[in-house]
Amino acid sequence: MPLPSTAIGIAEIILSRYLNAADIGPIADPLIGKRIRIELETIPGQPAISIDAMPDRNGIRLLPGEEPLDQADATIAGSPQALLMLLLNRSKTNNDQARVSGDLQLIRNLTDLFSDADFDLEAILAEWTGPRRARHLAEFVTVTGGWLKQSGDKLSRNLFDYLKYESDILVPPQQWQQLAEECQQLERRLGGLQRRLEKLEKLETPNS
């Protein structure tokens, strides 16, 4: 499935900015000149978006994956989230992992490149806003990001405690099951009693 060339260009520029801001230095020789095919699976059941990533000394160039697959030195396939997790070397649940094939050492070198990068937001912002505003903005983003992370952690902890407490005082499932069985039994007995009363009514009617 083709991706518009403008989108690929923008993705490449963002990627280059990230790597430059992370000050990774020149790309290591083993990666230069290699072609890594990325199969991006965005919508289930639809063909994957093919992009070729070609590292050079200064970053990674992206092109639409138009060349035959056997031209690629390695292939990475998966959802955008799975690919991101792979590049950042973060663990992810088993059902959403990127699939890799070909030169695995090449993939490892690539993931090391991203996971070792120390991203500097201020450097990127400085290009657009000047160093002074960039410092304030970067501080704001860092502080807000930290606050959001702290709040999120706290919220999840509180929610966990609350659910744990509630689950302790809730009736256990076995008791619920027993209650349901007893209710069914009571219903059956009520039915039997009802039928007896109806019979008695019928017996009384001819005499009267």
Partner: protein, 266 residues
């Protein structure tokens, strides 16, 4: 119905920009002797130089700034790299690239037109940008530069004014280092659905804007005509491959009104 021809009919284009048999070349829609084109183009840019930036903003509604940032982003240069900016005009690309290659790198800002180069130099000085920039007045078809000397060559909105485009691209290829890249930012062929309003804008509105703000309708009519005579995306890509560049690819911008071509010297 989509109009195939512009509002003012264009003569047949040739991919090289010259018709060898009759020794003429396209100057807008006009055929002029090959040796006259450079002078005629120089006259146009001498005329528009003082109001060039204002007109760029008016004509493109400011979009040319984004297109230039996109092109320099695709250059992928960094500290220490050597860059050649051809047809640099008032130095927009030079300014963006100088920041990327600083402090150890160098950008050679080059143009055939002295008036434009002077404008560009003055603007860079006004912005306090002086380090790592050299100025060179030269024709892109005959670069007085050593082989294999640049990491990146870029030409922004200039190739269509070059008399022999293929010769110029071959020169750019020659001065690139192995592994270096050439970027061509230029007007191109838009989507068919856009052609009619685009022609209307180019041939009816643009010359009036030129007359109103720059006092020169003819030069801006030439700009519109020269855009129509410029090779389309696929043709230019084929020319780059013919010149020896590899992994050539183009990125359309604004539905193909502008395209950035990139190729590598391998």
């Amino acid at each position: 119905m989509v109009q195939d021809q512009p509002l003012e009919s264009a003569p047949e284009n040739s991919s090289s920009g010259t018709s060898g048999q009759s020794e003429t070349t396209a100057f807008g829609y006009e055929q002029v002797p090959v040796n006259e084109k450079t002078g005629r183009v120089r006259e146009v840019f001498d005329s528009v130089a003082p109001s060039y930036d204002l007109m760029n903003d008016l004509m493109s509604m400011g979009l040319h700034r984004i297109w230039k940032r996109f092109a320099t982003g695709l250059c992928g240069v960094r500290n220490g790299d050597q860059v050649l900016d051809l047809a640099a005009g008032t130095g927009d690309l030079t300014r963006l690239l100088a920041r990327q290659v600083a402090p150890a790198g160098r950008v050679v800002m080059s143009d055939i037109n002295g008036a434009m180069l002077e404008q560009g130099r003055d603007q860079l000085l006004d912005r306090g940008i002086t380090d790592g920039i050299s100025l060179l007045q030269t024709n892109a078809e005959f670069l007085p530069l050593a082989d294999n000397s640049f990491d990146c060559v870029i030409i922004g909105f200039g190739l269509r004014n070059v008399t022999d485009k293929l010769a110029a691209i071959k020169e750019m290829h020659r001065v690139l280092k192995p592994g270096g890249k050439l970027l061509i930012l230029e007007f191109s062929k838009p989507l068919a659905a856009l052609q009619k309003p685009y022609d209307l804008y180019s041939f009816k509105i643009l010359p009036r804007l030129g007359k109103l703000f720059a006092g020169d309708a003819d030069s801006y009519r030439y700009l519109a005509e020269s855009i129509r005579m410029h090779p389309d995306q696929q043709t230019l890509k084929a020319m780059m491959e013919e010149a020896g560049l590899s992994r050539c690819h183009y990125f359309n911008l604004a539905a193909g009104i502008v395209a950035v071509h990139r190729g590598y010297k391998i």
